[in-house]
Amino acid sequence: MDEFDYKELGLKCGLEIHQQLNSETKLFCRCPNELQGTREPDFILRREMRPVLGEMGTYDKAMLTEYEKDLDIIYECYNDVICTYEIDETPPFMCNIEARKIAIKIGLLLNSNIIKEMHVCRKNYLDGSVPCGFQRTMILAKDGYVELENGKKIGIDILCLEEDAARRTETEKKEKTNFFRLDRLGIPLVEVTTKPDINDPDECRECAERLGLLLWSTNVKKVLGSIRQDINVSIKKGTRIEIKGVQKLDWIPLLINHEISRQYNLIQIKEQLTQKDLNKQESIGEIKDISNQLKETSCKFIAKGIKSGKKLYGLNIRGFNKIFGKELMENYRFGTEVSSKVKSISGLKGLIHSDENLKEYGFSEKDIGIIKNTLNVKKEDCFVLLLGKETEINKALHVIENRVKYAFEGVPPETRKALENGNTEFLRELHGGARLYPDTDSQPIINKDQEIQEITTHLPDYPWKIIKKYSTKFETEERVIKELIFSGYLELFETLLEYYPDNPTLIITSLLETATALRRDGKQIENITDEDYIEIFSLLKSKEIGKEAVEDLMVGKADNPELTIEAIKDNLNLESISKDELNDIINSIIDKNFNLLKEQKMRAMGPLMGDAMKQVRGKIDGAIVSKALKNALLEKIKELN
């Protein structure tokens, strides 16, 4: 299934990447750019959103759909880290200069043209994720490219600077209520949109990785969830499908291949239906409440459902025999496509169709006969059963009818959600062009030539070049340097190298392996600041500590964030010792263990080394201790002989 001829299929992919910036404060207010994690909110605020009338005196359809869901919106707020701007009680303040400059840098790295006069626009969001009802966004750069390893250039359509929306929380599983936490709202974000220049799934993965590396080589937020990527996929005769929530780069080729399969098979269904000369308008046949007829069914959950007052509806879909059972992608049939859309829009779970093994559900021949008779199902037809409340069923029937009729058109334009197994599920209808309009609360923002010039002269190397350079220079795998970038430690590594050029591998090991191991042990390694690392490696450079002490100091700081490295070093008794002091310690150990030495000779080296290290650990390099101990032992043994 994965052996598609992408050229023949006319595969076109594009990427949309969102990345939070690491400016000190938010984009339009001076609140800190800090997520509060699981911290309890200080107060909540209930609000209502209404669609606004457009210039033609009508409502936008997508907005109306959202409004009709009749959702309550509750904002979870903090007293200290949000202000009246986030709760839509005060107009925006000046656009954050630091964030703007980071975005300009990204725009320049993407070889794009920086917009000289930016206009803040409003993008309406009615789901409640932005308290004012719109996100403030602006185009910062346009028409750039990113180059792939083989030299192919993928066009960058636009780079936008915008505010992040509030984060959805599920503090209460209450129906019809959306909870949003306002700490994330207003964090500066760049959105990079490529042109649909990508024609191969692996190329798409590479492009996403390069864009990610490029973004992470600038001052962006480098934590889990700070980067979010969406893919657009289409093939010839198919439709542009937006896939959201792609969490890992490795998912990309799989997702694209599955989506190609889905679109390809939907196009096949369309052709099949056209060949059969079926009439789209007459495809939905009898729709009937068959609760009474199936009261005595041998299918237990249906019988139970009907008994509890639910309704069982059946509908005949003319000419659709074997279509509901057709596999579109792995473990996903046309029936799955219909039922997941039904679930998402109407809330009705579970839909049974005649392409399934009905015996497995417990239906008897008699049941099936009754259904077919009542719904007038012929050999070429398919029937669908729905069990639920009347209101749910009515909504569901509407969804089924629309989806079945769209089978005659091919692939319906949708936004879909990425799943771990490479499949996708329906998220919402694709909006026909975002409704954007100028923000009347803001003045145009000028990107001055001088500012752009200044940033241009300090532009860093491309990360893929740095990876090559460093892996050669420090004799490490490229993977390791990539890991440094994606763990957000590249800059710190470069800084630490200035303080401690002696052993780059030790720095890398500490930042990656040691840190990972400590984190796995439940240590709060985020307590170790860049300054702490600088101090640790400065101590190492001035030989005040041995390299074994690095991990101890990291543990100490992780456990006691309030202490300085100096204090932790004192607590650990890590004052480095001189060779003379070392010799004194070794001699006293040898004296104490004289009998052992007499018996075991050089085999006493192991236990004695352990004793020595207990006393000098971190104060002096273990290799020196070992050497000194060995010499002392050899001498003592010589004396004994």
Binding site: M49, L53, E55, K116, E117, R122, F134, I139, Y437, P438
Partner: protein, 452 residues
């Protein structure tokens, strides 16, 4: 010609003129590194010159620097299209008949997606399109009395408004709503409170702090709440606006005890020195106070004469005789002081005050603390001011005192009569006693404790 290139200046204008390009034209623009296609937008006249402003196909707006433009070409034109909605406000037999008077503030609007401009929606049909729930509360008629920005309000407009309200009150109407910008809403509510004698129906001021073109606007809920109060039994001039930052309930504030207290909060209006008259939520009213006038059969009279030569002076450190003399010289008939603390001004301006009082200018004292009574018997300065003839304004908010003095001096030019009228409670502007929770009342808390 100016309209054709609205907001464009200097070289930019010349270039566009030379190419025969006007706003709303669809342009293709090339710069060194990029190519743009979009609609030329009108430009704010305060924006920097040297840019052209386009709305791109993806609906984003950008400004392109004139000196970077290599080529510019006109390829079409997009006319802005507006349509009046065909919907009619449904009339329901037996529903209260309410008139909404317009003053220029927008309580409902449509959005021009191209420019972001707000197109006011004011006819009953338009209001019904925007807030259909109104039709479940009343039958609606609308009259645009005048169209001004709230900050440009003036006494003459109060008079026009009061006359119109009296006309409505004496017709078969059951209530009046007045859509008003929030900046000066408190002044106008006070003015109408004094001007409308024997008011027989509710007169409800309504506005919005978040404009109606945004999904989070407070306007729809304020309108529904105001309409509900306009159909109620409260025959007073009141302001009905949101009572909390949440979209939860509206508060009913007496027109002479209310003030805008925050530049931008939704619940910016607060009753001063008392708790609000009541609240309105989900089309139901709950009263906190009982001392309001009920609907009645009296004939409402508009006493609209107003003396405009009244000054409102904020007492401050450094206030000089000169500043007071200016008003005396200009023939002012009354001065309201927003005094410090209990109602004080510096003893250094006694000379000017003495002169003012000698010339029979009425001097009324209020406090810039806004809350509390003036207490002019407590300190020597207060006692001296009383001796000079300054009239204590009791608990009146400075702005309300200003409106009252202007209105009183419109009613009589007799110094003694004016003084007597000033100290009479005309429209609930005086309170007898300040209940402890009045200062810093928190309705949410009071509701929670079930204390109101």
């Amino acid at each position: 010609m100016t309209e054709k290139l609205k907001g464009y200046k200097k070289e930019t204008k010349t270039l566009l003129n030379n190419k025969n390009i006007g706003i709303w034209d669809i342009l293709k623009v090339k710069t060194d590194k990029a190519a743009y296609q979009g609609i030329l937008l009108p430009r704010n006249e305060y924006s920097e010159s040297g840019f052209i402003e386009l709305k791109l196909k993806n609906n984003y707006n950008v400004g392109i620097k004139l000196e970077e433009i290599k080529d510019i070409e006109k390829i079409g034109k997009k006319e802005a299209k507006y349509k009046i909605p065909e919907k009619k406000f449904p009339k329901t037999k037996g529903f209260p008949e309410i008139t909404l008077l317009g003053t220029g503030g927008t309580v409902a609007s449509r959005l021009d997606y191209t420019t972001g401009a707000v197109i006011p929606a004011f006819t009953p049909g338009e209001l019904f399109s925007a807030v259909p729930e109104l039709a479940e509360v009343c039958n609606l008629e609308t009259i645009m009395v005048f169209e001004i920005l709230s900050e440009n309000m003036k006494p003459q407009y109060w008079q026009e408004l009061a006359d119109e309200v009296a006309k409505q009150a004496n017709s078969a109407k059951d209530g009046v709503m007045i859509a008003h910008g929030t900046d000066t809403m408190g002044f106008t509510s006070a003015a109408l409170s004094f001007m409308l004698k024997d008011l027989n129906i509710p007169v409800v001021f309504v506005g919005s702090q978040r404009s109606s073109d945004r999904p989070s606007s407070d306007a729809p809920m304020n309108l529904i709440n105001a309409a509900t109060v306009a159909t109620s039994n409260i025959a007073e001039v009141v302001i009905v606006m949101m009572g909390s930052s949440a979209h939860d309930y509206g508060l009913i504030h007496r027109g002479t005890l209310v003030r805008k207290m925050h530049t931008s909060y939704r619940n910016t209006f607060r009753t001063i020195d008392d708790i609000p008259l009541g609240m309105v939520k989900n089309r139901k009213i709950r009263m906190f106070k009982d001392n309001y006038n009920r609907r009645n059969d009296k004939k409402t009279i508009a006493l609209t004469d107003f003396e405009e030569k009244v000054a409102l002076i904020y007492s401050h450190v450094g206030l000089t005789n000169e500043e007071i003399d200016f008003y005396i010289d200009k023939g002012y008939k009354g001065i309201v002081f927003a005094g410090t603390g209990l109602g004080h001004v510096s003893t250094r301006i006694y000379d000017a005050l003495e002169r003012a009082l000698e010339e029979e200018i009425i001097v009324l004292m209020t406090s810039q603390t806004l809350h509390g009574f003036v207490g002019m018997n407590v300190y020597s300065t207060g006692r001296e001011l009383l001796n000079l003839g300054v009239i204590p304004g009791r608990n009146m908010i400075p702005e309300v005192a200003y409106v009252k003095l202007g209105w009183v001096l419109g009613q009589t030019s007799n110094f003694k009569e004016a003084k007597a009228l000033l100290t009479t409670n005309i429209a609930g502007e005086f309170i007898d006693r300040e209940i402890p929770i009045a200062y810093n009342y928190n309705i949410d808390q009071l509701l929670k404790n079930n204390k109101v």
